[in-house]
Symmetry: C2
Subunit: 338 residues, 2 copies
């Protein structure tokens, strides 16, 4: 039910996803009449791998956390997460309110043993034509070193499970590459990651800078949720700005339009390489169950990518891998600053 477009996007995306993955099954959660009507439009009302689970309420983008948590107990978001808790689903995908999704997920699923705070991880395109895993993106605005340490472990497991990288490289986002650089929290995080590296448990590359995200210097980049959130939104803002300028200038007059028409294969490839749809689907990591967040403004293609990411995570058993590495590396240390 979530996102800017609701079932008119999520249902076609779900049906496209099922065409691609012949062993997948979907439980669609929300107002059953609306969902059935949308399924009918997609000629999939009796799809053998679709179940509709009714939920009478929805969490809106403006609902305070308290409303999502305590008042709307039959929201599509909550009922979807409960499917994971009850073992009926292996993962949940939502395009709804991020803060509410995290809060309800924490409440319903609880945090994984050894994890202090779940975090949000997304992927970014890079110049090596691979993804860079980036976290945290806003779940934790005030972090201590042991939180960043846990993010590194979770990011490493996710990149390993999703990309098949044997030992993903981890970069700590910083204002310079030397060990002496950084704010107090980041500086105190470096030795924790170095220790895991020395034990052969994490492939810690060292500090990276903002531009390394797009260079693809490391497979994973770690930062606190404040930095991650404002940076992600700045990146999205610049991408939108760039797209607007490109579109406006090529549409300016018949000559430039002709040029764009002739060069349309280039423009298509540019769109494909920078395509934000391919990078849709952020993971909420560190919960006792898989939850994925789609961009609210996602279109059918982008929402399908979010479902695919959730499917890949379930198929590659991200949860078990996470639990194993955390149990091994997290002796409940709590390095606190300030």
């Amino acid at each position: 039910m979530g996102g800017d477009h609701g079932p008119s996007v999520t249902i076609p995306a779900a049906i496209n996803f099922l065409k691609r993955e012949s062993d997948a099954e979907l439980i669609l959660v929300g107002l059953q009449d609306v969902l059935h009507a949308e399924l009918k439009k997609c000629h999939a009302d009796a799809h053998p791998r679709v179940t509709v689970q009714h939920a009478s309420e929805q969490v809106t983008m403006d609902d305070p956390l308290e409303v999502a948590l305590r008042r709307k107990k039959d929201s599509s978001m909550r009922v979807a997460i409960e499917q994971v808790k009850d073992g009926k689903a292996q993962a949940c995908v939502s395009a709804g309110n991020t803060g509410a999704l995290m809060a309800v997920s924490r409440y319903v699923l609880k945090t994984m043993p050894g994890v202090d705070r779940p975090a949000i991880c997304t992927i970014m395109p890079n110049m090596k034509d691979g993804p860079t895993y980036l976290m945290d993106l806003g779940a934790n605005v005030d972090c201590e070193p042991h939180h960043l340490h846990q993010f590194a472990i979770m990011g490493s497991v996710l990149a390993h499970a999703m990309e098949g990288i044997a030992r993903p490289t981890i970069g700590l986002l910083n204002v310079g590459t030397e060990d002496i650089k950084g704010n107090e929290v980041v500086k105190a995080t470096i030795p924790l990651l170095q220790a895991d590296h020395a034990r052969g448990k994490l492939n810690f590359y060292g500090n990276v800078e903002g531009n390394d995200i797009f260079k693809g210097t490391t497979d994973v980049v770690i930062c606190d949720g404040f930095v991650g959130n404002v940076m992600l939104k700045a990146i999205e803002g610049l991408a939108r700005f760039f797209k607007t300028v490109l579109t406006t200038e090529f549409k300016r007059n018949p000559v430039t339009m002709l040029g764009a028409l002739i060069a349309r294969s280039a423009l298509k490839r540019i769109t494909k390489r920078l395509n934000p749809a391919r990078y849709n689907g952020a993971s909420l990591l560190g919960l006792r169950g898989l939850v994925f967040k789609s961009h609210g403004g996602a279109d059918v293609e982008a929402y399908e990518w979010a479902i695919r990411r959730a499917y890949d995570a379930a198929k590659n058993d991200v949860q078990q891998q996470l639990a194993d590495l955390i149990a091994e590396l997290m002796p409940r240390e709590t390095t606190t600053i300030g």
Copy 2:
């Protein structure tokens, strides 16, 4: 002498600048033989508005701060800043090592009364085709609320003086627009800015998010130096990634090249609107003198923009305006967190 290209870029830029501004004079600081040779190449060896000030050393990009501060007392960087201190120059421009430039500037010029920490402010293009002033960009990685408050005052004065905006709007970079959002430092900064707004002294808009930088929601965006630095580098990285993809794809084959040729007016306008050269020249604010930092990789056009920004700042008396507003608004409060 600074930057990736040294006098082969800075001298032609200086001569171009002098052509544009008929009342300006320049003191070129560095190895006099090298500078004279470069001036000769530009047919400007006897330019009536150029003085060469010899300095026997240079601060390199790899020099530790201690070397820049204590060992190289006759560096071009230091001698250039001393010109400002001695009243021989109204502003200093350098493409050298940012950390060294800030450290030497603080040492030679000292901090302005009422300012705890100088900060670095740059401008970004936005969708309104105007600049967004953004600070701090890395001088201060651990900030307290009163530091962010001072950055807001300095940013407001700079935008006012440079753009002629009567009451520049100030946005506080945050993870959401509501007052309850943010990390502890940011949350404690909001009431300080609201108080100045209520007194009619600062035009505080409220919280802004990363994408607002490019939307042009406010004239000035304030953040701590850690956030500003990693975000700026991420933005630069993404811009470089765009440019690479655009260039590669248009050059891929004769057809796409033909398209690009036909649409070249569009591509030119795209380059112009997103042109990083126009946005070169960051201000080191809060010192007892004007210092501007050019990007190390600046070309002739970009370096000329940095000189022009320094010239505009001197002409519009940024220093006096800063001193006045700081004296008025800074009752030496020190709101500390933690």
